[in-house]
């Protein structure tokens, strides 16, 4: 065919189908027909809040220094969903929450979410925005230094950091571990996952954080797009398994088809 670039038929089909799948899955999400499984990481968050109340020490929730306008925006959104969830738990159980902020664009949204959570639990009088959601800095190391200082001073019982993280992930994880805080870490910036895996008690790896964010927020768009990705992963699983079995028996049809 002269119209289509040769050797790219299958990617094109996959691409067009992804378009439809995304649209359709979001519609299904709006109709409430999709359920996401509850991740163990979320139970861990509940556990950490409970532990903080018992110990009479505060909780940290760090959403990272991402903005709404960069390519990590979806991670920031997931981090905010988790923050809202943590704030609800803190208000309900009576733990003191600290959520230091790094991005002036994201900060008002974070404050609004936390305030809503406290209002819904009827505990607005327990919240002091100035103290509990301070703006530290937009500069990476100044921000990291600020959080390290707060952590050493306040000795939180737990630290929940879910969002986009860069080189500061190692500093945070190391500091909170040193002061004996229980940690739940999650990011989709894969380079930083190993540090969280080494230092945190629970981790949300990559897309797990999006799923957790969608689960607690119940946003049909986020839920829908997770479903459409699942369809592709299932397709990859089926094609991979069948293809490998057939190829082992010298039938390379699946592999040949995919590179068409």
């Amino acid at each position: 065919m002269a119209i289509l670039t040769p050797d790219r038929i299958v990617p094109l089909v996959a691409f067009v189908l992804a378009w439809f799948a995304t649209y359709y899955a979001i519609q299904l999400g709006k109709q409430g027909k999709i359920r996401i499984r509850r991740l163990p990481g979320l139970d861990a968050i509940e556990e950490t809040v409970g532990r903080a109340v018992e110990m009479g020490r505060p909780i940290f929730d760090i959403i990272g220094m991402g903005s709404f306008t960069d390519i990590y925006a979806t991670q920031t959104v997931a981090g905010l969903s988790i923050l809202s969830y943590v704030a609800t738990l803190c208000a309900r159980l009576g733990a003191k929450l600290y959520a230091p902020q790094a991005n002036p664009g994201v900060m008002p949204v974070a404050i609004e979410l936390v305030r809503d959570a406290y209002t819904a639990e009827g505990k607005l009088e327990d919240l002091d925005v100035e103290e509990q959601l301070p703006f530290l800095s937009t500069e990476q190391f100044a921000w990291a230094g600020g959080i390290i200082g707060m952590a050493v001073r306040l000795k939180p019982a737990a630290n929940i950091m879910i969002g986009p993280f860069w080189a500061e992930s190692m500093m945070f994880a190391e500091t909170f571990d040193r002061i004996g805080a229980m940690q739940v870490g999650g990011t989709a910036r894969m380079y930083q996952i190993p540090f969280f895996a080494a230092l945190c008690d629970y981790i949300l790896i990559g897309e797990e954080m999006f799923a957790a964010g969608a689960y607690v927020s119940g946003d049909p768009q986020q839920i829908g797009s997770i479903a459409s990705q699942d369809w592709y992963k299932l397709a990859a699983l089926i094609l991979g398994i069948i293809g490998a079995i057939l190829a082992t028996g010298n039938i390379t049809i699946v592999g040949d088809l995919l590179v068409m």
Partner: protein, 209 residues
């Protein structure tokens, strides 16, 4: 139609679709249009490079005029910024001028190459405090980390080449397999978010105001 919101969404959609068509179809008219889009994209990205400087002037200018804490550092920041711009543009040679290379090699290069590499010390703290086989998860991470570090440390393969072969095997088999699974997941995730952006369901980039 809201020209403040809808027209940008249409622009995103059209440009994105042309980019996709350029890849999958052979229409020469699409390719010509996309060549222009790429060129414009480069120029626009270049324009965007000044945004950071303007923002810093706003933020730190305010800090200096209000004499807030650390305003002296803000002054230093703006001085360095202006210095680079004046030397870069004033000589008319941009980054190729010898004066510019002098200030780059004096100020930018040493800090830039130290800032992130100084995390080596955090790696050392982390290693002795944290890389501990405290549960199954940490144990699994610990085992491969140790073998990779041993394989990466030339003195160990020099004494016993097996250290090197173990490291190579970990990369071939364990990393090769699992990271392929992760790559498939991350790749499809990016495509779905991209599609949501093109069809106007992901509008974060438009800002919140």
């Amino acid at each position: 139609m809201d020209y403040r919101r809808d027209i940008p969404l249409v622009i995103t959609f059209l440009i994105g679709v042309i980019a996709v068509m350029d890849y999958y179809t052979t229409f020469t008219s699409v390719k010509d249009v996309f060549t222009i889009i790429k060129n414009w994209g480069i120029v626009l990205e270049a324009f965007a490079l000044g945004l950071g400087a303007v923002n810093l002037f706003r933020v730190h200018g305010r800090r200096i005029s209000q004499r807030s804490t650390d305003w002296i550092f803000s002054a230093l920041l703006l001085f360095m910024l202006v210095l680079f711009v004046v030397v870069g543009l004033g000589t008319g040679q941009y980054e190729a001028g010898t004066q510019y290379q002098w200030i780059y090699n004096s100020f930018f290069l040493p800090i830039g190459s130290t800032m992130y590499s100084s995390l080596a010390f955090y790696m050392a703290f982390g290693a002795y405090r944290v890389l501990r086989a405290r549960n199954l998860d940490a144990f699994l991470l610990f085992v491969t980390a140790i073998f990779v570090i041993l394989g990466n440390t030339p003195i160990f393969p020099a004494t016993a080449p097996q250290f090197f072969y173990i490291r190579e095997w970990i990369f071939t088999a364990i990393v090769g397999g699992t990271y392929r699974g992760i790559r498939i997941g991350v790749g499809i995730g990016a495509v779905v978010i991209g599609i949501r952006t093109l069809i106007g369901m992901e509008t974060g980039y438009l800002g919140r105001r």
